[in-house]
Structures are given as C-alpha cells and as structure tokens.
Amino acid sequence: MAEPTPAADAAGAAEEETVTFTLDGREVAARKGELLIAAAERVGTFIPRFCYHPRMASVGVCRMCLVEVSGPRGASLQPSCFLEVQPGMTVVTESDKVKKAQDGVLEFLLINHPLDCPVCDKGGECPLQDQTLAYGPGETRFVEEKRHFEKPLPISELVLLDRERCIQCSRCTRFAADVAGEAQIDFVGRGELLQIGTFPELPFTSYFSGNTVQICPVGALTAAPYRFTARPWDLDQVESTCTTCALGCRVAVQSSANRLTRLLGIDVDPVNHGWLCDKGRFVAEAVNRDDRLTEPLVRKGGELVPVSWHEALETAADGLVRVRDAAGAAAVAVVGGARLTNEGAYVWSRVAKGVLGTDSVDAQVGDGLPAEVVLGLPRATIDEAASAPTVVLLAGDVREELPVLFLRLRAAAVSGGSRLVELSPQATSLTPYAACSLRYGPGDAAALVRAVTTGAPAPAAAQDPAALAEARRLVGEGPVVVVLGRPSLAEDGELVADAAQELARALPDARFLPALRRGNVLGALDLGLAPGILPGRVALDEGRAFFEAAWGAVPATRGRGTAEILAAAAGDQAEGPGVDALVLLGADPLTDFPDRRLAGRALEATGFLVVVASAPGGALDHADVVLPAAEAHERAGTTTNIEGRITRLGQKLVPPGQAWPDWMIAAELAVHLGCDLGYDAVAGVWDEIERVSALHRGITPAVLDALGDDGVVAPLSSRPVGLSHRRAPLDPIAVPGVESVERQGAPPRAGLAGPPGAGTTGVRAEADAGWPTLPAPLVAPVEIEVPHVAPPDSYSVRLVAARTLYDRGAAVGAVDAVRSLVAEAPLRVNPHDLDDLGIGAGGAVRLRSATAQVVVTAVPDPSLPRRVVATEFNVPFAGGAVADLIDRTFPVVDLRMETP
C-alpha cells in the first residue's frame, strides 16, 4: 500500500484542485482527495480517532471517527478517516447521533480493556485514556469478565506485547507490513480473539520495531528499555535531531532527573515522517551509561590521572606545539569529528587549520568517500531521491546504514514513483524493490557504470543482459538521483568515487545523495574537517585569501587523509614525512578504520596522542591527554544531514562532571595555543560560520527558528525557503507523547516574509568590509587519483565487508537491549564456490591474506557473484576480525579461501 505522499510544495499546491464542503455549518475548502478527518483538522475541528495515522493508508476499523455525512446516499454515519471530501458534501461532527456513536465505540473499547492505567507505561499520554475523559461515558455498564491473556509477552529483545490492552487498530501491523515491508507481526485469530502475534521463534526483529511502540495508541506495545522507567508527566522534552546516523531524523528528547528516558520521532515532511530506526531510538540511552568520562586526564608515569581542565589543555597545547615546532605542521594531524556539532566541527577546523596550521585533518576514518568528490557533486535532497523517476543505488545497504532512508526509498519504489537501479557487490535490503540489480566485483564499480551509461562491455559479475538493458533504459530516461555510499570497507573508497564521477560525467543532470553514515559527517566536511577543504565546502586554494583574512592563517599545502595519516604515524616511509602528534575527535581508529592492524601500529607509534572522547575506548590506552566531551543531547548547536539540511540540536541534559561541549574544548585549546577566538557561547560560533561560509550565508538563527523542525538545506540560494514550508500533520495521536493536545491549537509557524536574513544584512556588510570576496562552494568534484586494481588471480576470492546496523560501535555496546542484537557474522559465499571447495552450508573455511588468516563459518548466498565473498564489518567474526584481513595498501582485498 502506498504511503501517502506529502503535499506538493507551495507552487504545486496552488494548482491543486480544491473542493468546498460544509463542515458543521461552515464552508470549508479542501484539496481534492483530501481525507475528511485531515481537512477538518486543518481548520481546527478535531475528530477523535484511533486507527487513523496520517502516514499510513486508512483502514477505517476503529470506528471512532464516525461523523454524519449527507451526500447522494442520504445522511449516514461515515468514517471521516476514510472518506475523501466530496464537493458539496455536508458534514456534522457534533450531533447527538455522532456523539452517541463515538461514546458507543469508546464504551465498546473499554469493556475488555484492563484499565490498569496506574501501572501502564502509556498512562498519562494515552489517547484512549484522554478520549475517555473527553468523550466517554461516566461509568461502566460492563459487569462481565474481561478477556484475559498472559501478561506482557516479549515479541523481541526490544518490544513487549500486552494483549489485554490492544484495541486492534492495526497501526502496528500496517506499519510493519506497509511501511517497513516486513510483516513479522500480524493479527492472529478472529473476532473477539483477534490479537497481535509473531510466528513462534521468529521474533519481531525489524530495525523499525520501536515505531510500533510509538504509534500504538494504547499501552499494548511497550519498549523494553523504557518500560517502567518514567511517567509521562515527569518527563521534560526538547526537540532535536538524532545523530546516530546522518539522515537527520527529528526527535523529541525526553528526560527525567537528568537521565535520558526516551526518544520519539517527530513528523517532518522532508526527512523522517515521524519514523526512527531502533538503533537511533534506543542507543540514545548510551548517554546515561555509568562509565562516562567526567574529568580531563593526563598520562603521568604511565597512568592516566585526573587533572584540571587547565592542566590538561596546557599539556595538550604543549605537546602539539612541541611536535609542530620540531617536525612542521604536517607532523600534527586531527582524525575524527563526524560526531561533533557543526559548531564543534567549525571551531576544531579553525584550531587545526588556522591555529595549528595543519591541513591533515579528516572527519572520516578511512571508511567514507573522498571529501572533494562528495562535496563537489551536485547534491540531491532526500525528497528528490524519494521522488526521482530513476534512482541509482551505488552504496551499501541503506537499511543497515541510514535505516530511515530505506523507508523513504522503499516507499518510493513500492508506490511506483521511483524505479531503483541497484549497482552493488551483493544483494541489499532494497534489492527486492529494485527494477534491476546488477552486481560487480570489488574494483569494478566504474566499469559497471560505464557499461550502463556508455554501452561498454559489462564486468564479469554483471552478465545479466536483461537487467543491464533495463538499467540502461532507466538511466537514460532519468532524471536520475544517485545514492552514493561505500558498499564495502574492503574496497578503497576512491574506486566508488571514481564510479560516481563516471556517472556525473555521463549524466550531467544527475544529482547525488551521499549515503555517509556517521552523525554529522557532512557537516564536518562542509566546515573543513577534511584535507584540502575550508569551511563552506571550499577548496583550500580557492579559500586561502579569504580565510587568511578571516583566520589569520591557513595551511600552505594540502594535507593528508586518515589512511595516510595513520600510515605516516605508523612510520610507513612511503607516506612521506611522519606524523608524531595526533588528535582523535570522538573517533576510535581501532574499531572504525578498516585496516585494524595499521590503526594499532599507528596508535602505538604516535609520539603524542590527544583523545577527545565521552567514554572509555581502545584509543584511550595510548592517550597522553584525554579531554572529556559532552555527548548528543547534552549540547546545543546544529547538525547537518546527508542532504545538507541544517537543524538545531536541543540540549536536554547537563553533561556529567566536567565534560564540555566540543566547541568549547577547541576554543579553550586555542587559548592555550595562544589564540583567543573570542566565542562566549555556541551562538557566537554559528554567527561566525554564517559570516565566513558562503554555504551557510543567510541561515541565521532567525531562519532556523522560523523553519523549526524542518531545518533548512544549505546553501539557501539554490532552493526556495520558507514559503513552501508546511507544518507536519498536527495529530496528537500520530505520535502519542510528542504532540500534546495543546499544540494542536497552535497556529502554524509563520513562513518567512522577506529574503532570508534581510534584517542583518546591513550590519554584516559593514563587518565584512575590506575582506576578500566570500569563496564559493565547490561545484564540481576535484578529480581524484584512482588506484590501480590488478585483476584477480584465478585462485583468490575478493572480499566485501559491509556495514551492519548493530555493530560493535561504542553506543551500541553501552545499551544492554541493543547490544544483545549484535550477531556474529558468517562469511557469505556463492554456493558454487562452496561446492567447489566441497563445503556444505555452515561449514568452516579458512581465509588467508598475505599476512593474516582466519577460520570462519561459511553460508551460501546466491546473490553474490562467483569468487566474491562477503561479511559484515565490525561485528564478532568467528575466528578473529574481518578487519585483520584488510590491508589498506591494496585497493581491494584478495584472499585465498581453502578448507581449514
């Protein structure tokens, strides 16, 4: 069933056909095809409901929304959630007949409802409770025995089902089947005995199960982590953005007594439609963990000991300056930063590049794509990707990496609005929805793209003539949006970037949506946390003059990325001058960098290591200075999602102990480096960003406030802003617990009147006088040097190591319920290759590289090309770690596969 598509933008809406009808005696205009319940709500008439959800097709089963409708068939009670407004129809929502029918439905619902509100998680934010108070009969006429079921049934590690409370609205089953596409829960039984159930031994493992908890209008589905932790009326909330991945889902962050209790999805049209993935929803709790870093630490006599901030910063500054003075700025490097706020990223960028003078700065930990390609390609929005006639998937499995993007793309494909062309080394969650899927072996992405766009011969793995012809046709028809990510960590990112550039050359109108995964990775890149990049998506040489004026100094030459930094730190001669001082910004190369052994050697060898982190991790063992940082929900600021959308982060919690927000750590370090940058609050940092970055020009706090949850896509100039803005549906039970009934009465937030930021232009012009012209963002990718890939020899297999949602990342590890979902990864092998080895499913194979070997369980996967083997990165891997097999000096990983 198609997910209702959001209303078109303002221009489209003006052309839409409107119809008029009579609602409680007044004339109301509605969009043709608009549902009565929505049209009424838009003009302030709230019709009670349970089963209706604005993001799912109506089924009209709870019968709570009945109203009296007079039409050609006379006056009758009709479900307003199902009826489309018809011209001339007369609707009465408050007659005695309507009231009686609604009271009747409530009474029917309550006869078997346990009324255990005092112990129910939903108590206090329960639409059934609320509507009973508002509409229901005073006392019960039901004296018989209620239905009884065994009390809460765990239907997964995360979700519990209390069947007695269920009102059979089918919101959860519709979500699972129609939105997530995995009908793991379904109604069981019939009539009075109709209940939600799972198949024996097949739990509700959907990555999206938490949404069913959120949209359940009663307390039938509850989240194991949240259960009994708080009462809704004790909770405070702020609106924010989830930064677990880079999609930028809007959330309400709720806490009680400075502990985060839960995250709820907020419905924003351009991004998440109210949905969240379970990782985002449940790992947020990691902020509460007990082992947070609360004090700065400095290594003394081999031990890390707590010190004052002053001492820690002094030690850090001394160490960095010592290395720089001895070996040059290139010997100092900064790795990480993709989890910072925009403000944190900017100040760190300025400290590294403007103060320390090094360009060897990289927010990606060798697991992303070359920054200059990502930043230079014309960018698509999520909406564009979810409505493009042809979507080329040149990325990993988006359900594993950016789960809610999977929902958007799936909906686009299922509704027939988009046709997906998948170019990937293995099947993904979108494969069943793709119009055609073509496989390539690692190293062959660009060749496959050429085969699709120019008719060149296809690489060996993609010999499906029908699929190839279909791909050519669809790509030729366009317009095309390319979802561009990193399908495998065992294949150099430059190889995929090369393929993307082939696409960009062949399809000049194509737009690209980067599928990079880490929270604010695109904000960090935009603000200069990448070699060769200055804030505002500006190339180093282009921006030099401006930033020398703004900052006082910029590095003379382009620096190195994470892989080269680590190799140089480890002393690999080929990398040129060594790196002897390293700052890690919330990154742990030991788990994040694909070549784990190189990361280990680098950390061992680095002379001076500063770690900015919020919790203990592998890199701390090597740290000389540890600076405790605030985490998500403990810091204010902004973040940028994959499409370049900037939204505000709400601060809900006070950071523990002496942990500081990231921008402040950088700013204070600058002071200790002898340079006061002059910020006194996070807002001041944003002001500076808005001033020095053409990308961010005009995105003033006023603009951000006006746009609220939707945020704004940078740069402003390329897209209309404000006027097209539409409030998300104001349905208090679309997201119970978020939308309060009060909010329902609130007027839609005003769109922007004049040009954005008009009021401040004059002031800024004065301040900017005398500076060089603001440098423009990159408009085309800088050509990259593509590593040469030797053809595989006939004895080896090529490795694919892909991301999986529940991996051994720090946040997952910190939340019990989520940690238990991390599963060991088998090696997936084309069944013919297994047969050749004489190994059955579940047998063991030995994988050998030049320097390492592991023995793993092998399972057949017919979706893989011959001689391509695949597994998941950073999860337990039977005989060791897949990262041990990856050697960054080779662009692809060729291995020997043998019987053990």
């Binding site: 019968r63 007949k97 009747g104 029917f108 109604f187």
Partner: protein, 434 residues
C-alpha cells in the same frame, strides 16, 4: 393460492440419484444453455438475464443483470461465484453443489461468456467436502467434454474455472471478505467505497460476484428466455426460488417455489411443503430470511414470499431460509444462540461488531442462565443501538459491513415481541423452559 404449478428451474434433476454425473446431465438437456449462449453475442446473453429480472439469491437480492452492467471495462475481469453458504439455517446451495454441480458449472460458463471474463472462480465453503469433490469432478468432466477451457465447443471462447475451497469463516460469504479470502488473506470485509466489486474486485480488477443459486438459474433462462422467467413470480421478484425451511415443522427441507405466489403460511403448512408445526403445536415466531433478519410472528404468516413484500413488512427475505419456532421455544435462548454466532463469526476489525457482539452475547447468557438484571433490556437495546443506530429496518450501521447491524436483529425482535419472557427469566432467575 398455495403451491403453484411453476416449472422446477433449478431442482429439475434432483429426482435422479446420479444427477451429479455428466451422463445424467447431458441426458436431461445439460449444456444446451451454454451451446445456445455461445451462438449468441455476449451482450444478447446478458440482455436475457437482465430481462429475466433475476434477483441475486445470496441475500442482498440485487438484480444480476444490473450488477453485470456495472462491470467496469478493463483488460482483466473476473467472475467469482459465492458458494460460502454459512448463514444459519440456509442450506440450499449445499443441495445445488452436491446434487447438480454441472448445472452450476454451466451457469458459471454462461455468465463467464456473457461477461467475457478472464477467469472464473467458484468459492465453496470448506466444510462442503463432498460438494468440493462433486464440483471438481463435474469440472473435470466438463473440461473433457469441451465445455470449459480452451475454445469451448469450438466457439473460440476460452475460460478456465477454478474451484477454491474456503476454510471455515462465515464472514467470507460477504462478497468483499470473500475476495480477500480468495486473495489468500484473512476474510476482512473491505471498507466501502468502492461499493461494488464490479469497480474494484479481485486483485483490484473489476469482478462480478454472484451466488451459486443465481448462477444455477442461468441455463434455464438462456434456454427458455428471460421473458419466460420474468413471467413467473410478481413485480421485481421473478422466477422461482429455493426456500430452506428448518425448525419445528414436520417436513423441513429445501423447496423450489414460485416467488410471491406462495405465502409463509403455505410453506409452513402445505402438506407437500412444511406439513405444519410438529406435534400439533402452535407457531410462536419465525425468521423469514436467515438469522440476520428481524423475526416475524403469527401475524405476518400470510405475507407472500416476495422480496419487496417482506421488506415492506420490516424484515428481509435474505438468503431464503425460514426458521420456525413453536410455542415451547425459549426465545431468549434462541436469540442468545444467534448472538453467539455473530460474536464467534465477527471478523474482528470493527470495534462495535467485535466488542459489541461479545458483550451482547454475555448479557444474553446472563439472562438465560438466571443472572439477568431489570435494566439489562435497556442496556441490550442501547448497545444494539450503538452498533446499528435506530435498530430499525433497513438498518443503519456503525460498522464496515452489514454483519454489524445483523447482530441486533434477533435481540431486538425477541425483546419487542416477547418482553415478558425476558422479564420472567430475570425475575425467576432462570429459564422457565428448563
């Protein structure tokens, strides 16, 4: 008046033990109608059916000709035959599928030709194990005979017919639930609009759904012409119809009678029909058209068996099943049992039907078993009103399908006709009938 000399249209072969075989069928004029139809244009066949004014025999009584005319033009269309027969005390289709399956198959083929459908499905109630075997065997014979499949009788017309077994759920008789069930889902009636499967039916394609008996009339209509059919009966109620008579009569059974020309009294008392109430007892009440229909008392016994006539008197002829209750019947128990049926058979999607039926059943049980309260009758009626506002005929509904408003029929009938008996139950703490 009594029993007219009308021809037997759908039961003509039932005197033969082997009526279900192709041999007997061909020997008694079988497949003549199909041959004749194939020689006509599809439109001409449909015109005969329209002229016959054949009212659907499944319960709603919608004219088949009009339904066919509503079939939306589309590259793919379907015919689905409703053989789910599960309305309590209805057992006429059972007879037709077991005893004269070829007649059904022929009717289906005639309709398939007239409608030019892509494929036809015969949905049979799963509990009809013998019926399923008989219809499948008849189809096998018909295929071999060239009457179904490719290029039927050399006419160039081809259609496949598939027998589909249900699996036990009354609601699958409701036509949209039936389509859902045929699509492999649970039998949840579809929400309206669209009001007719003729617009959006099986797999979203335009679909005609007709009852087994409706289909079984087609061979006769094509052979004898629509006018001959329309000449029988009266007004809109043309032709003959099968009436299933059950309960306290001497000769329960299925009788084919000319519509309107016969009354309920004839059906119950005529010696060749019901032959009177058993043991010389008196008529207390009867249900005129399946348990969804409001009850009638002795006062209405002289009403004719006609669709509109019964509707005007405040009930419905429905599926043509008449349940006779004698003067010793406990109406509370009878109404309770019927309510329990609806509670068990509610599909469960609509709140008023799912919860209301169960609640009403429990109140009725309480009264029958002596735990009733004085205000229970008002409560019953008020809860009924919340399922079917007004509790009047024709019913209004707060539910998706008309199973909802069927629930109150027996309760409100029993209370309005026999309020005293309820009060006796309540006051005496139990059933006076023991």
């Amino acid at each position: 008046m009594a029993v007219t000399e009308a021809p037997r249209i759908v039961t003509s072969r039932l005197g033969f033990e082997d009526a279900h075989t192709l041999g007997r069928y061909l020997a008694t004029g079988g497949y003549e109608g199909l041959r004749k139809a194939l020689a006509m244009t599809p439109e001409a066949v449909a015109a005969e059916v329209d002229a016959a004014s054949l009212l659907g025999r499944g319960g709603a009584g919608f004219p088949a000709g009009r339904k066919w005319a509503m079939l939306r033009r589309s590259p793919v269309t379907y015919l689905v035959v409703n053989g789910d027969e599960s309305e309590p005390a209805t057992f006429k289709d059972h007879l037709l599928v077991e005893r004269d399956p070829h007649q059904l198959v022929e009717g289906v083929l005639i309709a398939a030709y007239a409608l030019q459908v892509t494929r036809a499905f015969i949905f049979l109630r799963g509990e009809f194990a013998l019926g399923l075997e008989r219809v499948q065997a008849a189809l096998n014979e018909a295929y071999a005979h060239g009457a179904v499949g490719r290029d039927i009788f050399g006419s160039g017309f081809s259609v496949d017919v598939v027998v589909h077994p249900g699996a036990g759920a009354y609601i699958c008789g409701e036509e949209t639930a039936l389509l859902e069930s045929l699509e492999g889902k649970r039998g949840f009636p579809r929400i309206k609009p669209p009001y007719f499967p003729a617009a959006i039916g099986l797999y979203g394609a335009p679909t005609v759904v007709n009852n087994v008996e409706t289909m079984s009339n087609l061979p006769w209509i094509v052979v004898h012409g629509g006018a001959a059919f329309a000449a029988l009966g009266e007004g809109r109620s043309t032709g003959t119809r099968l009436f299933a008579l059950a309960g306290h009569v001497n000769r329960p059974g299925v009788y084919e009678l000319e519509m309107v020309k016969t009354t309920f009294a004839d059906l119950i008392h005529a010696p060749v029909l019901g032959a009177g109430i058993r043991h010389g007892r008196q008529l207390k009440a009867f249900i005129p058209g399946g348990v969804s229909a409001p009850w009638f008392g002795p006062d209405q016994v002289d009403l004719p068996l006609g669709q509109d006539e019964v509707a005007q008197a405040g009930s419905m002829l429905g599926s043509g099943s008449i349940v006779v209750m004698d003067d010793r019947t406990c109406v509370v128990r009878a109404a309770w049992r019927i309510t329990r049926f609806f509670s068990r058979e509610s599909c469960g999607q609509c709140t008023p039907c799912r919860e209301g039926s169960g609640w009403l059943e429990r109140i009725m049980e309480r009264i029958e078993t002596g735990r009733g309260r004085e205000d229970d009758l008002d409560l019953l009626l008020d809860a009924c009103d919340n399922i079917s506002p007004g509790v009047a005929w024709p019913p209004q509904q707060t539910t998706i399908c008309v199973l909802g408003p069927s629930i109150p029929s027996s309760i409100s009938s029993a209370i309005s006709m026999f309020r005293d008996e309820f009060l006796v139950h309540i006051k005496e703490g139990g059933c006076p009938h023991g």
